[in-house]
Amino acid sequence: MSVAVLYAVTGLGLFSLGLYALIVRAHLLRKILALNIMGSGVFLVLTALARRAPDGPPDPVPHAMVITGIVVAVAATALALVLLRRVVETTGQPRLPDPDSE
């Protein structure tokens, strides 16, 4: 069992923790943080397993993918935060409205 795989398992741990919080926590800011942590977990799986190259430098393709992913994540986070602000402004609640209450 190599360190690389252990880091990947840590990434899975982050993914699972984030998913738990995304489902369980009600405050939207907490949900946005949870999604970011889940994303970091996936990036960690991608990058850690790229270091399984035998004696050579690590595989650069997942590194490029993760950089792409980080930029996408900040874009999504910015949009989510503005939406959150607008939701609080219009409803006064920092959480999702109950879908059944019309």
Binding site: V3, A4, L6, Y7, T10, G13, L14, L17, G18, Y20, A21, R25, H27, L29, R30, L33, A34, N36, I37, S40, F43, L44, T47, A48, A50, R51, P57, P58, H63, V66, I67, I70, V71, A73, V74, T77, A78, L81, L84, R85, V88, E89, G92, P94
Partner: protein, 94 residues
């Protein structure tokens, strides 16, 4: 050589634990401000992890974008949410 490897293992193990602990605190701690600050710390530790994984490009991107700018966005949102709250409280009391 052996000591260096051992230290490397210890450092890796420590980083993994710190990462998981920080993630848990970000999602479970009381107070949003504290959560955001912990999240920024999480991003910085993560960029150390990228260095350990021989991914310096990712480390740079993470430190600048993941921790830095996302952190700034989160903090400014928090400030605006606080302002909104204050306004609502005033509305309620008047």
């Amino acid at each position: 050589m052996a000591i260096a490897t051992l230290l490397g293992w210890a450092l890796d193990g420590l980083l993994m634990l710190v990462l998981l602990w920080l993630a848990w605190r970000v999602l479970a701690c009381k107070g949003l401000f504290r959560a955001v600050v912990l999240f920024i710390a999480f991003g910085l530790v993560l960029s150390l992890v990228w260095v350990r994984l021989d991914a310096p490009d990712v480390a740079l991107a993470e430190a600048a974008i993941g921790a830095g700018l996302t952190g700034a966005l989160l903090l400014s949102t928090l400030a605006r949410l606080d302002a909104l709250d204050a306004k609502q409280d005033e509305d309620a009391s008047s």
